[in-house]
Amino acid sequence: MNIIVCLKQVPDTESQIKIGSDKKSIVTDDIKWVMNPYDEFGVEEALRMKEKFGGTVTVVGVGPKRVTETIRTALAMGADKGVLVNDDALNGSDSIAIAKALAAAIRPLEYDVIFTGQRGVDDDMGVVGAALAEFLGIPQLSLIIKIEVAEDGKSVKATRPVEGQALIIEAPLPVLITAQKGLNEPRYASLPGIMKAKKKPLEEKTLADLGLNAGEFGSAARKVKVLEITPPPERGGGKIVTGETPQEKAAELAKLLHEEAKVI
């Protein structure tokens, strides 16, 4: 079984996010970059499938040179090879353009299953998986927490949690699956895995290598434009409940919870 995992590099959730002077982007200088956690579930699931059925796991990333670190992390976990689509013309691309670049990089490869995260934890769009499946003309199973491959290896049954229930859906291979939290517990890269990662093949491709027109990428080609990024509102001050006696205070608190906070 040949499996492809798409990887996005995102700021570590512990990084302090500062908004840039253009108010449309974030300052990336001091950011620690990590693998999108949802993509990590995809890598883990791909490795488990490979361990069960054989085949190869290829990881594909789009972005600047630093994304090789994330690809190498997946290689250290056990993936076999990596592809990075890196082109200055990609800077500022929207999700649809990223999906287009991924599709072009993936089309020449052999695949039975493609994983993406259900969304990137940076801008929470959740579009790339669906768009990629559309570009490749394959079915998409989104927000999956459990996967069973049929005995004949021709289809998968997958579980999506829906409001406390489980929806079981089935699709023929090849299929694209977007990974949701709960799918698995990703492994740590082992020391020998890390030492071997550098020797595994990692190809770098430009848009031209993939036969793509640079004009369809980048900020100018965005279909979704970012108008402004604003920080979350500052936390307002607390309120001290006053009153002479505990009874008065309790009554005042109940009134505030009912009338102002509207929680009771």
């Binding site: 740590y188 082992s190 020391l191 890390i194 990662a197 550098k198």
Partner: protein, 377 residues
């Protein structure tokens, strides 16, 4: 300076993530229960981290000391210590790698690197600590085996470990030149493990005394030549001190991080305490000394990797980094005020961990002696 390579960074990230997720959230509970987290050692073994500095030929990671220092430091940053069992496991493994026979390496070293056998390093005795050459445990050759008699104290991992590297006198008339080292298996006849000591800190790691009563050890388990055991112990300790210096640096960093974030959030007299210049200077000193510790640890590590003599470099790194960790953690508790004294805020544990590092593997005073000896020779 000392920017990690891509591989080093991946190893650092891996250890950081592991320590943060698997160790940090549980360590206080393990400490209260006095429970050794064997599964952490097992897991690190599976991941290839139990023999980091040992050659790949015997299942180790083949890492240089520089990388080792960076990885241990990161583990300590995320846990404020926490990996204390590892340097002593390696102190037992290192002489086997350097001076052991092929059979010893195949039989014992491979198990230690795989995390299938935990090691302990047994040098200190009730009446011989700093003056390690004064040990009295004796080993007498009888036929194809040595018979050991005597006692060891304060042995890290004792009771949990499967393998003990034990230093004993094979020639009682010759101080340091009369010591040999032996691999003792946990169920060797006449080998008795003592009560678990109750300690000021690190109660998630066991420390116990050992007694040898006509304890029989096969001749084949002597590591290196007879009467050359002290050398191999010192060799192991030189490397191990780099690890202690790196861990101490990590503890300092952890305490500093906690102090900085607290100082920014805690209000007194209508403003964050970070506004007070006295606090600022405390933080500035903590930062400066932590960086200096790191530089000394990395210097000793890179000298070791270059094959240079490191006795003085390792000693000054160990002394400076552990004394710094003591100051920095004490000041972190101070900056957190009453909260700093509470277990919930974790810096009090860093302080207790730092104190130990000034004592084990040669006290700060002994490290000073080593440095001075090199200067004055």
């Amino acid at each position: 300076m000392f920017t990690p390579t891509e591989e080093q960074q991946m190893l650092i990230d891996m250890m950081g993530k592991f320590a943060e997720k698997e160790i940090a959230p549980n360590i206080l509970q393990w400490e209260e229960e006095g429970k050794f987290a064997r599964h952490i050692f097992d897991k690190l073994g599976e991941l290839g981290f139990c023999g980091m500095t040992i050659t790949e030929e015997y299942g180790g990671g083949g890492l240089g000391y520089m990388t080792y220092a960076m990885v241990l430091e990161e583990g300590a940053i995320k846990t404020g210590g926490g990996l204390g069992f590892l340097p002593l496991h390696l102190a037992a493994a290192t002489p086997i790698e350097a001076f052991g026979t092929k059979e010893q390496k195949e039989k014992y070293l491979t198990k230690m690197t795989a995390g299938k056998a935990l090691g302990a390093f047994a040098l200190t005795e009730p009446n011989a600590g700093s003056d390690a050459a004064a040990i009295m445990t004796s080993a007498v050759l009888r036929g194809d085996r040595y018979v050991l008699n005597g006692a060891k104290s304060f042995i890290t991992n004792a009771g949990e470990a499967e393998l003990y590297l034990v230093m004993a006198k094979t020639d009682k008339d010759k101080g340091a030149n009369g010591i040999s080292s032996f691999i003792v298996e946990k169920d060797a006849p006449g080998f008795i493990v003592g009560q678990k000591e109750k300690k000021m800190g690190l109660n998630y790691i066991s420390t116990r005394g050992l007694t040898f009563e006509e304890c029989e050890v096969p001749l084949a388990n002597r590591v290196g030549e007879e009467n050359k055991g002290f050398l191999s112990a010192m060799y192991a300790l030189d490397g191990s001190r780099i690890g202690v210096a790196a861990s101490a640096t990590g503890i300092s960093q952890a305490a500093l991080n906690a102090a900085v974030s607290y100082a920014k959030q805690r209000y007194a007299f209508g403003q964050p305490i970070a506004n007070f210049q006295i606090i600022q200077f405390m933080l500035a000193d903590m930062e400066t000394e932590t960086v200096a510790s790191r530089m000394l640890a990395y210097r000793a590590a890179s000298m070791k990797d270059e094959g240079k003599k490191i006795a003085a470099a390792a000693a000054m790194a160990k002394r400076y980094a552990t004394d710094t960790a003591m100051r920095v953690t004490t000041n972190a508790v101070q900056i957190l005020g009453g909260y700093g004294y509470m277990k919930e805020y974790t810096v009090e544990r860093y302080m207790r961990e730092a104190k130990l590092l000034q004592i084990v593997e040669g006290t700060s005073q002994i490290q000073g002696l080593v440095v001075a000896r090199e200067l004055l020779k």
